[in-house]
């Protein structure tokens, strides 16, 4: 059974690399259900990226525990896929090479690899760019390659670190809706980090608001929107505005101290 449940219990992360240790995350607990779209917002430097890397298994927790399907995280695994804010594509590989990489590493035969990769390249509207190198792509295209390569090897859990932060409004909206379609269709669990309150509310079922540095859980807000409607109807609805204001106020309490 391939489920995508994430549980963080009393997670603490201290960076010790520098002369003075930095506590990035302190006593943070939350649960993300299988197939849930879960967003994390918080002031800059509160430990959002750190949290994502802990779930991904790139970093180790200092104390507490993170479990994925009741197994403690002990390093990276193909059940989780990260979409990085800076794309992190292999510059020496073409779009096709980047998207097939994960499949090749997991022993998928060559023609099957290409077929699967092509499917996600098409889904992301990247057809025609299969043989292009990342340096020749725009930011939005790179981010779509990043998403395509992660979807291609089919991780149950998507971990996304401000993936659309650098894109302009129309492109961001298009990719958000694209992501929602994929999420519904493929039933992935998504942990989505953003600093954009509207984005968090529009996309997710629940939002975790973190306190300022060192980050801990401030509040988790349920978002109850009628998802059968289109973007315009959702965004202009009263529920949406209310929830957005609630998240904004909560976040604002944390940020106003710092400025």
């Amino acid at each position: 059974m391939n489920e995508g449940r994430v549980i963080a219990s009393n997670v603490e992360k201290v960076y010790r690399s520098e002369r003075t240790p930095t506590t990035a995350i302190e006593d943070l607990s939350f649960e993300v259900g299988d197939g849930e779209f879960f967003s994390v917002v918080g002031p800059s430097g509160c430990g959002k990226s750190t949290l994502l890397y802990l779930i991904a298994g790139f970093l180790d927790v200092t104390s507490g525990m993170i479990t994925v399907n009741d197994h403690a995280v002990e390093g990276p695994g193909t059940d989780r896929g990260v979409v990085f804010q800076d794309y992190a594509l292999f510059p020496w590989k073409t779009v096709m090479g980047n998207v097939t990489y994960g499949l090749a590493e997991n022993g998928v035969p060559k023609d099957e690899r290409r077929e699967t990769a092509q499917h996600f390249i098409d889904t992301m509207g990247l057809d025609g760019f299969e043989d292009t190198y990342p340096k020749e792509l725009s930011g939005g295209m790179k981010q779509r390659v990043g998403l395509a390569r992660t979807l291609a090897y089919d991780p149950k859990i998507l971990l996304m670190d401000e993936p659309f932060g650098a894109l302009d409004q129309p492109l961001r909206e298009a990719l958000q809706d694209n992501l929602l379609d994929i999420w519904r269709e493929l039933g992935k669990t998504v942990v989505f980090i953003t600093h954009d309150v509207e984005e968090a509310v529009y996309l997710s079922e629940r939002v975790l608001i973190m306190t300022r540095h060192p980050g801990t859980r401030k509040q988790v807000i349920d978002i109850d929107l009628d998802r059968t409607q289109d973007r315009e109807a959702i965004i202009t609805s009263e529920e949406f505005t209310e929830t957005k204001n609630e998240v904004w106020r909560s976040l604002r309490e944390e940020t106003k101290h710092t400025v």
């Binding site: 890397y53 298994g57 990276p76 896929g81 990260v82 800076d86 510059p91 590493e105 997991n106 390569r149």
Partner: protein, 259 residues
């Protein structure tokens, strides 16, 4: 180059080509003019035309070609040894603490040593033959190659390594799959820096210790009062440096299309 291309060279191309090297044409004309007018003693600077005639004679007699091959062999074999040792060692220094602890002080001490000052020591130890020269070239070009390999392997983007890990690349394959390709541009830069150095070391060793080669041929001209030979050799050296540098650039462009 294919013939149709040559045929299509337009007047515009000729004008543009002349523009890009007009300073050289001017200098050459000046050289010929001043020397033909007898403004400089023949021994110090013979006219270019005499130098070219000498160069032609040395070429048809086989002397120039033999000297060039000898010099190229020494420089190339030395460079090859330095590359084969320097690239893996440089990368290992960056990736393995223990190798780093061992080699970092050696590089710190070894790199600034003016390699030419070791020629007498090498003559003591290894004599004045090919082996001595090749080893000195190897030692001298090892530093820039190893240092560039080390620095570029150290600068490998952490997110690329994490990307590979999440897609299933085991730790032991990271060097091949991520570090080497990401460091490749820097590694090639090191080799490009080492190339002229390998020629310099060979020339100087040949001038000091003899044993044939372009350096020997050049200084022989001074010693036998045939300065045309010195200048003809000098021009050959410049041409060789120019062609080799251009070849490396071409290889770089072909290999690193993505960069």
């Amino acid at each position: 180059m294919d013939v149709t291309n040559i045929a299509r060279i337009s007047r515009h191309d000729v004008v543009e080509g002349a523009k890009s090297i007009y300073s050289l044409i001017l200098l050459i004309a000046l050289w010929e003019l001043i020397t033909q007018a007898g403004l400089i003693h023949y021994y110090f600077l013979p006219p270019l035309s005499d130098v070219l005639i000498e160069g032609y004679e040395l070429t048809v007699s086989g002397e120039m070609i033999q000297a060039s091959l000898l010099t190229l062999k020494r420089a190339f074999l030395g460079l090859l040894i330095a590359t084969v040792l320097g690239v893996p060692i440089g990368i290992l220094i960056a990736r393995n603490r223990f190798v780093g602890w061992f080699f970092d002080p050696i590089i710190t001490i070894g790199y600034p040593v003016p390699i030419i000052s070791l020629i007498p020591v090498f003559m003591l130890w290894f004599g004045i033959g090919d082996v001595s020269k090749i080893i000195l070239v190897g030692v001298g070009t090892f530093w820039p190659i190893a240092i560039n390999a080390r620095n570029s392997a150290r600068a490998v983007n952490q997110n690329l390594i994490w990307s590979a890990r999440m897609m299933g690349t085991p730790k032991r394959n990271l060097v091949w799959k991520v570090v080497v390709p990401d460091a490749a541009p820097g590694v090639l830069t090191g080799i490009q820096i080492a190339l002229p150095l390998s020629l310099i070391i060979t020339f100087v060793f040949e001038m000091v210790a003899g044993g044939g080669g372009l350096g020997h041929l050049e200084i022989q001209g001074v010693r036998s009062f045939t300065s045309t030979q010195t200048y003809a050799t000098l021009i050959a050296i410049m041409l060789i440096g120019f062609v080799l540098d251009g070849t490396l650039r071409k290889i770089r462009r072909r290999l690193l299309r993505w960069a």
